[in-house]
């Protein structure tokens, strides 16, 4: 009897990218609802129509006494008798950090799902990156890529992942500054307390987080029967169950309780929590994420979409 679940090879970046493009094409451009930004963003990455800190030229204005001499634009001032100060337009693109869990447990794929959890997570992440880049947001991946604002951010993210594949859990997040959005995609199979211990410091720094839990149908439904030896792909621990079907119900309850705990705790932080099953369409999760990022209220019940 062939095993139900298996560990598959990591998904190649290019393949994930192609699939992500397909998914992303279905989704309208994502407008990130940025509550913390004073003005409402109308067209994504456009400037704020006012002077400020930015890259693009906004206006020259006459130099006022008392201002720092270093701010004088001498090239413009040389044209006539006045001195001018160059001002730039305030551009405030929102930064969104995407992070997929690439630990060994994510490589799991059962017979009931077309792809592995890791594959689905990558697709989700890249599709999000594609959508958000289209909207002019800054896309980053902690430990892999610094935030960039580029139309081809998804490609760059895919390339960066190929060169620096993520392996373990959440990497160093010190570079993530406040007022950013964090999208965490993984299976979060650790006990809820451990997960929250990792995430709570991020929330305390003012980050807005969106957690997407990817799970395989076999993990939820526990379709095993008979004498079965279960092996944890991460620790290598083994458990042998003489009659696996006998514990199916207990397992399902425990599994659902774990997810509910995690969702509750995240919502307490003000984060959003989305569950996604790999035998469902990736677009489902993408739409849900899109809505969360756009600030639309989640329609779904606690526990995420099915």
């Amino acid at each position: 009897m062939a095993p139900i679940g298996q560990i598959v090879r990591p998904t190649p970046g290019s393949e994930a990218l192609a699939r992500a493009r397909q998914r992303a094409a279905l989704i309208p451009d994502c407008l990130v609802e940025a509550k913390r930004i004073a003005n409402t963003v109308i067209a994504g990455w456009h400037g704020r129509r006012k002077r400020g800190i930015g890259e693009n030229f906004w206006q020259f204005r006459p130099y006022a006494d008392g201002e720092s001499l270093s701010r004088i634009d001498w090239r413009r001032s040389a044209r006539d008798d006045h001195t001018y100060v160059r001002e730039r337009e305030w551009e405030a693109a929102h930064t969104i950090w995407l992070w997929p869990d690439m630990s060994p447990s994510m490589m799991f794929k059962s017979n009931y799902a077309p792809v592995s959890k890791e594959s689905r997570a990558l697709v989700l992440m890249l599709a999000l990156a594609e959508i958000l880049a289209r909207s002019g947001e800054r896309i980053g991946c902690p430990g892999v890529m610094d935030p960039v604002t580029a139309r081809n951010a998804a490609e760059r993210l895919a390339a960066a992942l190929m060169h620096a594949p993520l392996t373990g859990g959440l990497p160093e997040t010190g570079m993530i500054r406040g007022f950013s959005d964090v999208v965490l995609i993984g299976d979060f199979l650790d006990p809820a307390d451990e997960v929250m211990a990792q995430l709570a410091p991020l929330a305390r720094r003012g980050l807005r987080g969106h957690v997407v839990e990817i799970f395989d149908p076999a993990e939820e439904t526990f379709p095993y029967a008979g004498r079965t030896e279960f092996a944890d792909p991460e620790t290598g621990d083994k458990l042998v169950s003489g009659r696996a079907e006998s514990i199916q119900e207990a397992y399902r309850i425990a599994y659902k309780a774990r997810r509910d705990n995690l969702g509750q705790a995240l919502r307490h932080l003000g984060w959003t929590f989305t569950s996604h099953r790999t035998d469902h369409l990736a677009s489902e999760a993408l739409v849900a994420m899109h809505m969360y990022l756009s600030g639309m209220p989640a329609r779904s019940a606690p526990g995420g979409l099915r």
Partner: protein, 939 residues
């Protein structure tokens, strides 16, 4: 039989091997292998699934291991025997068994019996009659008979502690066979040749058997002890062995008469050597208790050597005509005897010089030997007891000398009649040259000692020639005059050296032969002394067996058919059936008879000496051995291995459970640590109560004074020595510590170079024990400075002494003090630091008395020689301490008489000189030679 080198005792069991495939199938038939599933949310599952199960499928190699285990057990039960015995008995005639049951067969007697029984079984199978004979038996019944009769004879025989008498056994066989040609003749030999002309095998060949088998066991390992002798520091043991091929190191042990092991030694054979000498090192007192020597690894009669009284240490009493002069030891007549016999005997000397008292006293101490050096006449009443003692077995050794030469000729304690006066050889009025010694005659104890070439005899006493003089002479000069003569009286003897015991008449006492000669005479004497030999007349007759040695080297009281040992007729008995080895005599005194005579060797039997082909075989059970234990052991090992593997596979030792693993590891480490832990160095606490004080005294030089018990005197002494210490510290490099008041009756004195003793008539008189402590202190190099503190009491004045002087005389009366003199003008004391001409204290004018210097011309040794010429005693009356005494400000406490500060200064200088003299000895005295040395150097 089969061509295989092994056979199975129960081959039917081997059919069980057919079951192995079934076992294999059963082993594979385990619970189904669980479906292996990767399951990431294992932790969730683990919270649900509490109980664990282990994988039950064993890998193929584990199954193979278990199969091998089963196969090993089956094979072991089938009892494979490697090298099984085969039966190829010749049926041409009766089988003849000749079996050695001599001493060396006791080691493997069981196997010899088994071999013989196997041969008897073979003969029974082929229905041939059996003739059986044993070589160490008294009577032989070799008539060919049935197997049952042969077995009966075989079981009745045990190894005997004897050497085999094969010739008689073969004769008995020849008589029993009466010309019948035997079929197989098997000779179960102990592997030893009886002597160099051993004809055993050719005699067997003469019986003309169809087949001659020589069956030898591992009698090759036979080792025998053939001799033991007491040397200066150890018991030398001679051993011989049969197998001379390789090196061997055998452990020897010595047991006392109750069988306790009291000393151990070893004997080492080098390859190719059949005889070696080992030693058992033990103190003499302990060697006296040796009753027998054994080789640890063997228990045969040959490897046991019995010791008798001949090995006991003798008690030797020394008597000299003139009192021992401690100052001239080399001229003392007993000095060389003392040195020669010290390692071999207990020496006792009388406390009294009066012979009428000392001789009974010595006889009471029951010596084996009395040595009299140059005693002319004994007190008349002592002759009778001495003669009685000699008659009872005592040995009297006398040395000649001027007194003996002058003694009357009818002395009963002289072995020969002596001529009056001595004979001088090589003197001014003699033409004769000093005589060397002749070869020692073969009779007497000196036989075998090489002739000493370096001994010249210049004077001797001469014996009147008598017919039996030659046979009573143990040593003589080159011209034939006797040097050592002897007379036997009953069981005792008188030995006379015709020279002196010191080196004045001859060089004999200073040659090495003197030691050997004395040692042999002493060894000859009876150990228990004369009184133990009260039964001496009986001892001269045949000695009944007292304890006999069994074949396994154990002494038994069962004497069996042993006969008394007749030493009178046969002074060098050998063991035979009538006289097996053992102790002969009675509890009071016995003689040991050992299996092998002194110096015997054992040699292997040479089959080439027979004129017939000899088939050599080993004993049953030697080559044929069962592989059963080995197989069982192998199976057990595999079981252990299997258990370990199962433990590993269950994860009991895996690192997946670090805590269990750590615990297991800790237990293992603790166990191994318990086994191999280097035990912490534990030292006995040897500190003594006063160690701190002792170390303090040793660190710095302290001046010391005797506490008289009178406070004023002791205070002045203490302050005086403190003042002197201060002065010495200031003036010289010597920095003494605080002065110490000593209680001479109990304090340790040896730390102090000098002790100041203010003599006070009113203080209690020291006891005799205290005086002897002072005496010992002075002998060991210390110096006592007596101060009578009274200038008017000269020692040499006309008998009118002060009270202190009287007390000093009383003290000195008990001390062994040398002659005294006032310090001479050129004595070291006058120049050891300051140049002084007088030695004042508080008073001036009293003399400082010191030991009189020995006259160089008489060259004799003085007691102070050991102390580098420093006088052990100084006596003054000038009250040094009074002059030295200062208070804590350094102000003198007492005025000098007359009041003269220069005199006080001289008193201090005197103190410095005395201290320097104490500490440097005659170093300054050597300076007087400086001009002569410089002159010799050509400066």
């Amino acid at each position: 039989m089969s061509a295989l080198p092994f056979a199975f005792a129960s081959p039917a069991i081997l059919f069980a091997l057919l079951a192995l495939p079934v076992i294999w199938w059963l082993l594979r038939l385990t619970p189904p292998r669980p479906q292996a599933e990767v399951f990431p949310p294992l932790r969730v599952l683990a919270s649900v699934l509490k109980r664990e199960e282990t994988p039950a499928q064993s890998p193929w190699w584990l199954t193979l291991l278990r199969m091998l285990m089963a196969a090993a057990v089956i094979l072991a039960i089938a009892d494979p025997i490697v090298n099984p015995r085969t039966n190829t008995l010749s049926a041409a005639g009766p089988m003849v068994l000749l079996i050695d049951n001599s001493w060396s067969t006791s080691v493997d007697w069981e196997r010899r019996v088994a071999t013989a029984e196997a041969l008897i079984d073979d003969a029974e199978a082929s229905e041939t009659p059996i003739a059986i004979a044993f070589t160490a038996e008294q009577s032989h019944d070799a008539t060919p008979g049935t197997a049952a009769a042969a077995r009966e004879k075989l079981t009745a025989v045990a190894p005997r502690p004897l050497r085999p008498d094969r010739a008689r056994a073969i004769e008995a066989l020849r008589a029993a066979l009466a010309g019948t040609r035997p079929g197989t003749l098997a000779f179960l030999a102990d592997g030893m040749k009886a002597d160099d002309t051993d004809r055993t095998l050719s005699a067997l060949a003469d019986l003309n058997p169809a087949e001659l088998r020589l069956i030898e066991g591992d009698g090759q390992s036979a080792v025998a002890l053939t001799g033991a002798s007491n040397t200066a520091d150890a018991m030398a043991v001679t051993a011989t062995r049969l197998n001379s091929s390789g090196p061997a190191l055998l452990a020897l042990s010595a047991e006392d008469n109750r069988g306790r092991k009291i000393a151990a030694g070893s004997v080492r054979f080098t390859p190719g050597e059949t005889q070696a000498t080992g030693t058992i090192t033990a103190p003499f007192e302990m060697r006296n208790d040796f009753a027998r020597l054994t080789i640890d690894s063997q228990a045969t009669a040959g490897s046991t050597y019995l010791l008798d009284d001949g090995f006991k240490r003798r008690r030797v009493a020394l008597l000299a005509g003139e009192p021992t002069d401690a100052f001239q030891p080399l001229l003392s007549p007993l000095y060389y005897i003392h040195r020669a016999l010290q390692p071999y005997a207990d020496l006792v000397e009388p406390n009294e010089t009066d012979l009428s008292v000392s001789i009974p006293e010595l006889l009471n101490s029951n010596p084996s030997v009395i040595i009299m050096a140059d005693i002319g006449r004994l007190p008349a009443e002592t002759y009778a007891p001495v003669e009685r003692w000699i008659a009872n077995g005592g040995t009297l050794i006398r040395f000649a000398g001027p007194r003996l030469a002058a003694a009357p000729a009818d002395d009963p304690l002289v072995p020969v009649t002596l001529r009056q006066g001595e004979r001088a050889l090589g003197g001014a009025l003699s033409w004769a040259e000093p005589q060397p010694l002749a070869d020692f005659p073969p009779i007497g104890p000196f036989a075998g000692i090489p002739k000493p070439d370096d001994v010249l005899v210049k004077r001797q006493v001469l014996a009147e020639p008598t017919p039996d003089l030659a046979e009573r002479t143990w040593a003589s000069l080159a011209d034939g005059t006797p040097l050592v003569t002897v007379k036997e009286i009953n069981s005792g003897r008188i030995v006379l050296f015709h020279v002196t015991a010191e080196a004045t008449w001859s060089d004999l006492p200073i040659s090495g032969n003197f030691v050997e000669m004395l040692r042999r005479i002493v060894q000859l004497s009876k150990a228990g002394g004369a009184t133990a030999a009260n039964s001496a007349p009986a001892a001269a007759e045949a000695l009944p067996p007292y304890r006999l040695l069994s074949a396994t080297g154990v002494l038994t009281a069962e004497t069996g058919t042993a006969r008394p040992l007749d030493l009178a007729r046969n002074p060098k008995p050998v063991t035979n059936f009538d006289n097996p080895p053992g102790l002969y005599g009675s509890e009071d005194g016995f003689t040991a008879l050992n299996l092998l005579p002194q110096g015997a060797t054992i040699a292997p039997l040479d089959p080439a000496s027979a004129e017939i082909t000899v088939a050599r075989e080993g004993l049953v059970g030697g080559e044929a051995w069962s592989a059963k234990p080995a197989l069982f052991f192998l199976a057990f090992l595999m079981l252990l291995l299997d258990s370990l593997i199962v433990l590993f596979m269950n994860g009991a030792l895996s690192i997946a459970r670090p805590r269990t693993a750590a615990r297991t590891l800790a237990v293992l480490l603790a166990l191994s640590g318990l086994v191999g832990m280097p035990h912490g160095e534990v030292r006995a606490d040897d500190s003594k109560p006063n160690d701190g004080e002792v170390f303090d005294r040793l660190d710095t030089t302290h001046l010391a004074y005797v506490k008289t018990g009178e406070n004023d005197v002791d205070d002045i002494s203490q302050r005086g020595l403190a003042g002197l210490s201060e002065f010495i510290t200031y003036r010289t490099t010597l920095e003494p510590g605080d002065p110490v008041g000593v209680d001479i009756s109990k304090d340790e004195l040896s730390f102090f170079p000098i002790i100041y003793w203010p003599v006070s008539a009113s203080a209690p008189m020291p006891t005799n024990a205290t005086i002897s402590r002072i005496d010992a202190y002075m002998r060991s190099g210390g110096t006592v400075l007596f101060d009578t503190r009274d200038q008017f009491s000269g020692l040499n004045e006309n008998g009118i002494a002060s009270a202190n002087g009287e007390r000093l005389r009383a003290i000195l009366a008990n001390l062994d003090i040398p002659p005294l003199e006032p310090v001479p003008a050129d004595h070291v004391l006058t120049k050891s630091f300051y140049l002084l001409s007088s030695f004042p204290g508080r008073y001036n004018g009293g003399q400082l008395w010191i030991e009189a210097r020995q006259d160089t011309r008489n060259g004799s040794n003085s007691s102070s020689a050991s102390a580098d010429g420093v006088t052990p005693i100084m006596i003054t009356s000038n009250d040094f301490a009074g002059a030295w005494a200062v208070d804590h400000q350094g102000v003198p406490l007492l005025p000098t008489v007359p009041p003269d500060e220069i005199q006080r200064d001289y008193a201090f200088r005197t103190g410095v000189n005395i201290m320097m003299y104490m500490l440097t000895g005659n170093y300054k005295a050597d300076q007087v030679h400086v001009p002569a040395l410089l002159e010799r150097l050509g400066q």
